[in-house]
């Protein structure tokens, strides 16, 4: 076997392995961004600025601006996870934030927390 064919074989094996990986992780697993844009964006907006279509003038509270470091720093990672899982009242906030604990898996909620930290470019207190 020459060096060239060796390289080709290695590449083919790598491609097959990647294919196997993507098949086993499953096409159904949604990314945090996909989940955010499907569920959260309704109120928090597609870019996370708290300006989703449900943030109408007559709502009693405004959705949190996820890009605001000043606002998001007030929340611990646990607060974020609890709020997504059991809704606003779990962190003494409005019930307008609904519970997603039966809709999203624990790992999806944890990934959303990481996504929110990227949006605010901040850490929890």
């Amino acid at each position: 076997m020459t060096k060239k064919t060796n390289k080709k074989a290695l590449l083919a094996a790598f491609a097959a392995f990647s294919l196997f990986l993507s098949a086993t992780t499953g096409a159904s697993a949604a990314t945090a961004e996909e989940n955010y844009k499907f569920y959260c964006a309704q109120c928090h907006g597609l870019e996370g600025r708290g300006d989703g279509v449900n943030a109408t003038e007559n709502q009693p509270v405004s959705p949190r601006d996820h890009t605001s470091a000043r606002e998001m720093e007030k929340l611990t990672d646990e607060d974020i996870i609890n709020s997504i899982t059991d809704g606003g009242p779990s962190t003494s906030k409005s019930s307008l934030m609904p519970p997603f604990g039966k809709t999203l898996s624990k790992s999806e909620i944890s990934e959303l927390k990481t996504y929110l930290r990227k949006l605010c470019k901040c850490k929890g207190k």
Binding site: A27, S28, A30, E34, N35, K37, F38, Y39, A41, Q42, C43, L46, G52, V53, N54, A55, T56, N58, Q59, D86, G87, S94, S95, L96, P98, P99, F100, G101, K102, T103
Partner: protein, 222 residues
């Protein structure tokens, strides 16, 4: 003499019963033909069960599924709506940015009656009929407004004024549009009807008695 009279009246009532049920059946058959001819199936799934498994599958759908329409809608709603379709969702289906243009095809009165008759034959065994009576009740209202704030996504009309969010179908006029038995089934068995949807699954957060009160309340909204 008496017996022959009874037989005659029985025969007459059988005749009337059969005659009165024929138009509905004929309407459904014609309606299915019209549904196919007008290619309604390009946007609306008419055979269950639900097929979508991922967010991408849901977003690929162009309109609401109708395979359980006969269980979902109030009996006299669809024929009127199909002849004069007015937006139910403030936004375009599956969009969070585009306003509903209100451009659903309008059917002739005759077609609307037939297609509605067909759609009302599409029933789900998961909806138990007659269990929930529409009723404005304080417990249901408290869940809708305070406990889970359903109005956050579903627009309602309060004392003549529209209020609430826009991402879900409006619930103004739900009393004329929805079967409260379906609302209860949808809330308690959400994955049967829509396995992937942007509304959270509330099972475990709203108990069964509350689900009944809430469904009765939603069924009473004008």
């Amino acid at each position: 003499m008496m017996i022959s009279k009874i037989i005659a009246s029985l025969a007459l009532s059988v005749f009337f019963l059969t005659a009165s049920s024929i138009p509905a059946l004929a309407g459904a058959t014609e309606g299915k033909k019209a549904f196919e001819a007008k290619k309604c199936g390009q946007c609306h799934q008419s055979e269950g069960p639900a097929r979508e498994k991922t967010i991408k599958d849901q977003l690929a759908k162009k309109g609401p599924e109708l395979w359980y329409a006969g269980s979902k809608f109030a009996p006299a709603f669809l024929d009127k709506w199909l002849a004069d379709p007015r937006p139910i969702r403030p936004l375009e289906y599956n969009s969070l940015t585009k306003k509903n243009a209100g451009n659903h095809p309008k059917l002739s009165s005759a077609d609307a009656i037939d297609v509605a008759a067909y759609l009302m034959t599409l029933r789900s065994a998961d909806v138990k009929d007659g269990a929930i009576q529409p009723r404005d009740n304080p417990k249901g209202r408290a869940i809708f407004i305070k406990k889970q704030a359903c109005y956050g996504c579903h627009e309602v009309t309060v004392r003549g004024n529209k209020a609430g969010g826009l991402s879900g179908p409006a619930l103004t006029g739900a009393s004329k549009r929805l079967n409260p038995d379906w609302v209860y089934a949808y809330m308690t068995k959400p994955r049967i009807f829509k396995p992937v949807k942007d509304m959270p699954d509330y099972t475990g957060y709203i108990n069964d008695a509350e689900m009944k009160d809430l469904s009765a309340y939603v069924g009473s909204l004008d």
